[in-house]
C-alpha cells in the first residue's frame, strides 16, 4: 500500500486530477487531434453519425452495466440483440404485422431472455457468467431454427412454398432514420437511456441498493434487501436494453440479418468495463459506459477517416484503452474493489 505525502489539501493535485479526468482527457485529445487534422471529422453530420453507430453498443452496454452493478455480467446481450433482429423481421415479414407489433414483440423477447437468465441465476443458482453463456449459445442457435438459418427479407419463400407476405414497415425503418430536431433518433434514445440509468444508479434508492448487492450481497441481504429480486431486475433490464439495441440494428439493416449482433457482446462488455475507470470511480456506472462507447466511436470514425486499415484501428483501440486504464488504475491510490475481479 502506498501512502501519499500529505499534500496541502487546498492545493492542486496533478495525480488526482489525472486519475479523475485522465480518461476524459484522452477522449478530448483524440477528438481535438481528429478535428484539427480532418475537416470532415468536425462536421456536425459526422459527429452525429458517429454517435448513431455508437448508440447500439452504448445502449447494450448500459444494460451490461446494470448487471455488473449487481455483481454479475450478462454475456447474452449480443445474442439477445441478434434475436431481436430476427424477431422483428419475422413479425413484419413472415407474419405481416405492423411496426408497433414488431416493436412490442422485440421488447417482450428481450425481457423474456432477461427473465430466463434471472431464472437460471436466481432460482437455479447457476453463477452469472455460466448461466448467461449457456443462454447465449442457446438463443444464438434457437433464433435460427424457425427461419432455417436464413436471413429474413421480403420475398423469402416459406416452407409451404408461398412467398412471405410482409415487409419492414416504413414506420419501423424510421427508428434508425428519424430525427428529433438535428439529433438522430437512435442518438436521442441513447442519451435519454444513459441519463435515466445514471439517475437510477446514483440518485435512487434502488440504484444504491444494487451497488450494495454488487459489493457484498450478504450484507445487503441482512440489511433487509431482497437481493434476488434486484438481480432479476438487472437481468431483465439488460435483456430489454439489448433488445432496444437490436431494434435499432434491425431498423438500420432493414432485414432479418442472421449475423446481426454477433460482434456486439465484446464491444458492449468492453465499454462497460472501460467505463468503470472513468472519473476514478472504480465501479460500473452509466456515465462511464457512455463515455467509453463515445471514445471507441471516436477512435473508429477518426481512424477510418484518416484512412487507417481495420487492424491499425484495433491496435489504436487497444492502446487508447490501455492509456485510459493506466490513468485510472495505476495512478489511483484507491484500491478498486468494484471492478469485477472475476
Amino acid at each position: 500500500m502506498s501512502i501519499g505525502k500529505t499534500t496541502a489539501t487546498t492545493g492542486f493535485d496533478l495525480r488526482d486530477f489525472i486519475v479523475k479526468y485522465g480518461f476524459i482527457l484522452v477522449t478530448v485529445i483524440l477528438f481535438v487531434w481528429f478535428a484539427s487534422t480532418e475537416p470532415t471529422f468536425r462536421m456536425q453530420n459526422t459527429l452525429f453519425s458517429m454517435l448513431k453507430f455508437t448508440s447500439v453498443v452504448a445502449i447494450t452496454g448500459l444494460g451490461v452495466t446494470l448487471t455488473m452493478v449487481v455483481g454479475g455480467l450478462d454475456l447474452s446481450v449480443g445474442a439477445t440483440a441478434g434475436l431481436s433482429v430476427t424477431l422483428s423481421a419475422m413479425t413484419m415479414v413472415i407474419y405481416a404485422q405492423t411496426g408497433p407489433v414488431a416493436l412490442i414483440v422485440v421488447l417482450l423477447g428481450g425481457a423474456l431472455v432477461g427473465l430466463f437468465n434471472a431464472f437460471l441465476i436466481v432460482v437455479l443458482k447457476i453463477p452469472d457468467l455460466l448461466a448467461t453463456l449457456a443462454t447465449m449459445f442457446t438463443i444464438m442457435g434457437l433464433k435460427l431454427v424457425p427461419v432455417d438459418g436464413q436471413s429474413v427479407s421480403s420475398g423469402l419463400i416459406l416452407r409451404d412454398g408461398s412467398v412471405a407476405p410482409g415487409r419492414f414497415t416504413e414506420g419501423f425503418l424510421l427508428i434508425d432514420r428519424a430525427y428529433i430536431g438535428p439529433v438522430p433518433l437512435p442518438v436521442a434514445i441513447f442519451f435519454s437511456l444513459a441519463f435515466v440509468v445514471w439517475i437510477f444508479l446514483t440518485r435512487t434508492r434502488w440504484g444504491r441498493v444494487m451497488y450494495a448487492i454488487g459489493s457484498n450481497p450478504e450484507a445487503a441481504r441482512l440489511a433487509g434487501v431482497k437481493v434476488q429480486r434486484y438481480r432479476a431486475l438487472a437481468y431483465v433490464l439488460s435483456g430489454v436494453f439489448a433488445s432496444i439495441g437490436g431494434l435499432i440494428l434491425s431498423s438500420r439493416i432493414g432485414q432479418g440479418d442472421i449475423s446481426a449482433g454477433n460482434s456486439l457482446l465484446l464491444d458492449a462488455v468492453a465499454v462497460s468495463l472501460v467505463g468503470t475507470s472513468v472519473l476514478g470511480m472504480a465501479r460500473p456506472n452509466a456515465w462511464g459506459t457512455t463515455l467509453g462507447a463515445v471514445l471507441i466511436g471516436i477512435v473508429i470514425t477518426g481512424l477510418t477517416i484518416k484512412g487507417f486499415p481495420y487492424y491499425a484501428q484495433d491496435v489504436v483501440k487497444g492502446l487508447v484503452l490501455l492509456t485510459a486504464l493506466i490513468f485510472s488504475f495505476t495512478l489511483s491510490r484507491r484500491k478498486s474493489r468494484f471492478v469485477p475481479a472475476v
Binding site: S153, G155, I253, I258, N262, S263, I300, T301
Partner: protein, 342 residues
C-alpha cells in the same frame, strides 16, 4: 443421417428431371455415402448451396454427411480427417484454404477416395482432385464492366474489401486492373471481416464517405460488404450521387436492390442452389468414372437493379425464371442422373 436442412424455409424444393439411363456402378447397388466438408454453412449463400447439394444428392441416391466447420479453418481440417476415416465413397470440399486442405485432399486421393473441390485453389497442390469454381474473375469482370460503363473514365471511386480471403483476393485482382484501365482514383479502401460483416462495415463506409462524399461509385465485392456499403451511403443521404456495385445475389439482396432509390445498381451472381447441385453431379460422375475433366467453371451472370425492376423480380424463384442462365441444370449432366432444376 440426412441433413435436416432439406426442410429449410425458403429452401427451394426444385424440380427433379426424370433419369433415362441405367445407373452405373456403384450407384446400382443402393445408396452411396459421400461427405461434404464445408468451410462454413452459415449465411444465405451457403444455406442455399447446401440445400441445392442435398436435393441433388437425394435425387441421385447419395447418403450425405455434411461437416460444417463454421468458418474455422482448423476445424475444417479435422472434419476432413474424420470424413476420410469414415469410409465414404467421395468427398466434396466446399471452400477453405488451399494450404490447409491440399495435404488432406491428397491423403484422401491416396486412400482412393475421389475428391471434388469447390472454390479452393487446389489445381497445383492437389492436381488429381476435381476443381469446380464459381469463377470469381468472371463475376468481378461482369459487374466491373457494367461499373466502367456507368461511370466512365477518370471517376472517383470507393472500395470496400478485405484481403487475405481467397475469393475476395481473386476479385481484388480484377478490380485493380479495371481501376488502372479506366484511370479511376480510389478515394478510400476500407473493410473488415467480423462476425457481423454488414453492420460493422456500415460504420466504416459511413465514416469514409464523410471524408470523400464526392465519389460516384463504390465497389464491394461480397454481398455482405455491399449491404454495409449501401447502409453507409444511405446514412449519408448520398444515394442520388453514388452507385454501389456488389457480387452475389440472394433474396435479401434482391429486396435491397429493388428498393426505391437504392444505390445498389448492379451485382453479379450465380445461383448457389444450382451450383450446389452441379457440384454434386460432378461428384457422381467422378465416382462413376465418367467425368473426364479436372476442372469445371460456373460462370457468373450480371444482374442489374433495372433488370430486376423491369421484370418484377421479388426473389430468387422469380429471378431464376427470368434469368435461365443461372440454372446450371445442363452442366455436368448424364442420362442416368436426375438433374435437379431450381
Amino acid at each position: 443421417s440426412q441433413g435436416t436442412s432439406d426442410t429449410a424455409t425458403g429452401a427451394d424444393e426444385g424440380t427433379v428431371a426424370e433419369a433415362t439411363g441405367t445407373k452405373p456402378a456403384p450407384f446400382d447397388a443402393g445408396p452411396v455415402k459421400i461427405a461434404i466438408v464445408q468451410n462454413s454453412g452459415a449465411g444465405d449463400y451457403f444455406q442455399q448451396w447446401t440445400n441445392g447439394a442435398n436435393k441433388q444428392a437425394e435425387a441421385i441416391g447419395f447418403e450425405v454427411q455434411v461437416y460444417d466447420a463454421q468458418a474455422d479453418n482448423a476445424k475444417q481440417a479435422t472434419d476432413m480427417e474424420t470424413a476420410i476415416g469414415s469410409g465414404v465413397a467421395g468427398i466434396i470440399v466446399d471452400h477453405g484454404q488451399a494450404d490447409t486442405m491440399c495435404p488432406l485432399i491428397n491423403k484422401a486421393l491416396d486412400a482412393g477416395i475421389p475428391v471434388v473441390v469447390y472454390d479452393v485453389a487446389t489445381a497445383e497442390c492437389a492436381p488429381q482432385a476435381v476443381t469446380t469454381q464459381q469463377s470469381d474473375a468472371s463475376l468481378a469482370q461482369a459487374v466491373l464492366d457494367q461499373m466502367a460503363l456507368d461511370l466512365g473514365k477518370d471517376a472517383k471511386v470507393g472500395y470496400v474489401n478485405v484481403l487475405g480471403i481467397a475469393p475476395l483476393d481473386r476479385r481484388h485482382v480484377v478490380w485493380e486492373a479495371i481501376v488502372k484501365a479506366n484511370n479511376w482514383s480510389q478515394s478510400f479502401f476500407v473493410g473488415k471481416f467480423t462476425n457481423s460483416v454488414a453492420t460493422d462495415n456500415a460504420q466504416l463506409v459511413d465514416a469514409a464517405l464523410k471524408k470523400s462524399p464526392d465519389v460516384v461509385g463504390i465497389f464491394a465485392p461480397y454481398d455482405e460488404l455491399t449491404k454495409g456499403a449501401v447502409s453507409g451511403i444511405e446514412s449519408n443521404n448520398l444515394q442520388a450521387s453514388i452507385k454501389a456495385y456488389g457480387i452475389d445475389i440472394s433474396n435479401a439482396d434482391i429486396e435491397i436492390m429493388t428498393k426505391e432509390g437504392s444505390p445498389w445498381v448492379a451485382t453479379a451472381g450465380t445461383d448457389p442452389n444450382a451450383i450446389g447441385a452441379a457440384v454434386v453431379r460432378n461428384m457422381a460422375l467422378e465416382i462413376a468414372g465418367q467425368l473426364g475433366v479436372k476442372s469445371v467453371d460456373f460462370p457468373g451472370v450480371l444482374i442489374t437493379a433495372q433488370f430486376l425492376k423491369d421484370n418484377a423480380v421479388k426473389n430468387m424463384v422469380d429471378l431464376r425464371a427470368k434469368l435461365p442462365e443461372l440454372n446450371l441444370a445442363s452442366v455436368s449432366g448424364a442420362d442416368w442422373i436426375p438433374a435437379v432444376q431450381f
